[in-house]
């Protein structure tokens, strides 16, 4: 009896000690964020989330430092140089949103060789020694067509708005949409433009193409471009098709106004900028000696007709729908991958 009690007590102490143990090992650790671009609302939200989550973590002594660095010109060479500087400055881990999946591999390899943990997210790197927190962008494309197939069983004409030409994410989402359209042959992609994930570029491109297009039943997008498409279509005096949105506040506000006016229904999906905070906790866990698989998948954030009002309430005007991750969320994602 006494022995069992002792056993239970020590087990309880051990269990209670686990979280503090994972913190204690990282209290001297310094983590850097290497970011390649800051010039849009998504990236601004990503940096704000990083600040919101890491500042208390530093205050509580979970890590010694969590500094964010952004390059000015969105160039892979510039970011490679930045990573080399971060190695020299002695950071224990570098969290990277990469300008290119392959061009940073040399610098990432150097970091690994110097004993630095590298965790890439959103823009991931292919170098095997780094960790990757990726979104299944192809799934994002397939889900859009699947939603349209459910709304429009008879199919119809689709307009596809793509991202920035030559970027990995654009190719992936496009591949998913293409696969979705192949699986649902009642749909035809009758036009395609590059909107560069920017509202004004999408508006400009759609306005130029629209006069030549037949009736459009659905618009598949990549995020940041839905409101621009809506404005171009409205300006041309056409009926508004089902436009898939990308979680930006302006897109969701327009959707709400349309819903209130005429019962408009659609869906919105994108990767949450707060994924930077997930990468932070994953890096912390790796430094704490936890076993973490090299490839992790983070679900994308979906806003539906039912969650629209809630999402708008928590999204700042002009911002992006967001979730910030806690240590427990990160542990759950790691556990799911194992």
């Amino acid at each position: 009896m006494k022995f069992t009690q002792m056993l239970l007590a020590s087990a309880a102490i051990a269990a209670a000690a686990i979280p503090t143990a994972t913190f204690a090992q990282t209290e001297d650790a310094r983590i850097a964020l290497s970011n390649n671009y800051a010039g849009n609302s998504w990236r601004q939200a990503m940096l704000t989330s990083w600040e919101t989550v890491t500042a208390p973590a530093v205050d509580e002594g979970i890590v010694a430092a969590a500094d964010a660095f952004t390059t000015a010109e969105n160039q892979a060479t510039e970011q490679a140089a930045q990573i080399q500087n971060l190695i020299l400055q002695g950071y224990d881990a570098i969290v990277v949103n990469a300008a290119s999946p392959t061009a940073l591999n040399g610098a990432v390899r150097e970091a690994c060789d110097a004993g630095v943990t590298v965790v890439s997210f959103d823009g991931v790197v292919t170098e095997p020694c780094a960790w990757r927190i990726a979104v299944d962008f192809q799934q994002m494309g397939r889900d859009q067509v699947a939603y349209l197939a459910q709304r429009l069983p008879d199919g119809g004409n689709l307009l596809e708005i793509r991202g920035l030409a030559g970027v990995f994410v654009d190719d992936e989402i496009h591949a998913g949409i293409t696969a979705g359209v192949e699986a649902n042959s009642q749909f035809d992609v009758v036009g395609s433009v590059n909107g560069d994930w920017a509202q004004d570029v999408a508006q400009r491109a759609v306005a130029g193409l629209l006069p030549s297009l037949p009736e459009i039943d659905g618009v598949v997008t990549q995020g940041g471009d839905g409101y621009g498409a809506a404005q171009a279509i409205e300006a041309a005096g056409r009926d508004i098709p089902i436009i898939i949105m990308g979680n930006r506040q302006d897109e969701m506000a327009w959707w709400r106004d349309q819903r209130d006016a005429n019962g408009y229904e659609t869906i919105s999906l994108s990767i949450a900028p707060g994924v930077s905070t997930l990468a932070f906790w994953v890096a912390q866990q790796i430094l704490a000696g936890e076993e973490v698989p090299q490839d992790l998948v983070v679900p994308f954030l979906t806003v539906t007709q039912d969650t629209l009002d809630e999402a708008l309430e928590t999204t700042p005007e002009g911002g992006v729908a967001n979730v910030e991750y806690s240590l427990e969320d990160a542990q759950a994602v790691i556990a799911a991958a194992q």
């Binding site: 030559g166 920017a198 004004d200 006069p211 621009g228 302006d250």
Partner: protein
């Protein structure tokens, strides 16, 4: 041929016309109203900022303003933030945008003159400062324009978009300033030979400073209306207009070497630049092919229009 060589802008209009017809052929002409209105609307923004760039380029070799996109972004974000959707603040918002242009122009020329930095570096450095100021001022939040202003920016009179009318006014004023005023004579003289101009008693520094200010003010004007047109300012809203502002100047028949500018050509080139992308989108080419074609067509137009340089 001599008549043509005095009108180098004719080539850009010709090119725009050809591309317009080819695009219309896709729908058998059904898209004529929609395409023309869209083209006039979007060309208007290129015209406004391109005109400013043209004055700077006219100042002679090495003169260029790379801070146009950042100036547009800062003017758009600050003005829309100040107005906050309140129609009563449209005029103060406008004045603030113009004041930003004035400030940027003076700062640009101060870097060039006082610190003797080449314009290409000075305006690039300035653009980083301005862009950071835009990020700092509201972290990329998109605020809607006042309703009256938004309606004006997307509206039209007798089928002609308001922004196109605005751009036309800018063009006419620029034409008068360049062809009929002393200021126009001065910048042409400076662009052709700055030393000769100085010896002739032209206030070279004052004219150059005024030209950089004019360019920045037109950029902020463009940013103010572009932000109102597209339902709010975005941090990357000016990015398109860096190369665009230079391309419309060059395609429009203005000499890159300075001292020889061409106001009507800016319109032809702006219409052309929008129509080329629309045409290639309409015929459904993929992005890589579209970029190659855009490049080849631009080279083609410049080579054709460049026949006039033979006289050197």
């Amino acid at each position: 041929m001599t008549a043509l060589s005095r009108m180098p802008w004719i080539w850009s209009f010709l090119a725009a016309g050809i591309v317009w017809v080819i695009t219309l052929m896709f729908t058998g002409g059904a898209s004529i109203v929609g395409l023309t209105q869209a083209t006039l609307t979007f060309a208007a923004f290129s015209v406004i900022v391109g005109t400013g760039q043209m004055f700077v380029i006219t100042l002679g070799p090495g003169n260029i303003d790379l801070s146009i996109p950042a100036t547009m972004t800062l003017a758009g974000t600050v003005a829309l933030k100040l107005m906050g959707g309140d129609s009563g603040l449209i005029v103060p918002g406008f004045l603030v945008a113009i004041a930003i242009g004035l400030g940027v122009g003076v700062a640009n020329y101060a870097l060039i003159k006082l610190l003797r930095i080449p314009p290409i570096i000075a305006t690039l450095a300035m653009s980083f400062i301005i862009q950071s100021a835009a990020i700092w001022s509201n972290r990329g939040l998109r605020i809607r324009p006042p309703e009256i202003l938004g309606d004006f920016a997307i509206g039209s009179v007798l089928g002609v978009p308001n922004v196109a009318i605005l751009a036309l006014v800018v063009t006419v004023l620029a034409y008068v300033a360049l062809e009929k005023s002393l200021y126009g004579r001065w910048i042409l003289a400076i662009g052709q030979n700055i030393r000769a101009a100085r010896m002739a008693g032209i206030p070279v520094d004052g004219v150059r400073c005024g030209t950089y200010v004019l360019c920045a003010v037109l950029a902020s004007l463009g940013g103010y209306f572009l932000a109102s047109f597209s339902g709010g300012a975005a941090l990357n809203m000016g990015a398109e207009y860096l190369l665009m502002s230079i391309a419309v100047v060059v395609i429009g028949g203005t000499s890159v070497a300075g001292g020889d500018s061409n106001v009507p050509g800016i319109w032809g080139a702006s219409l052309f630049m929008f129509l080329v992308v629309s045409m290639l989108n309409t015929y459904g080419f993929d992005a890589g092919f579209r970029m190659i074609m855009t490049g080849l067509i631009i080279i083609g137009v410049i080579v054709t229009a460049g026949g006039r340089t033979v006289r050197f």
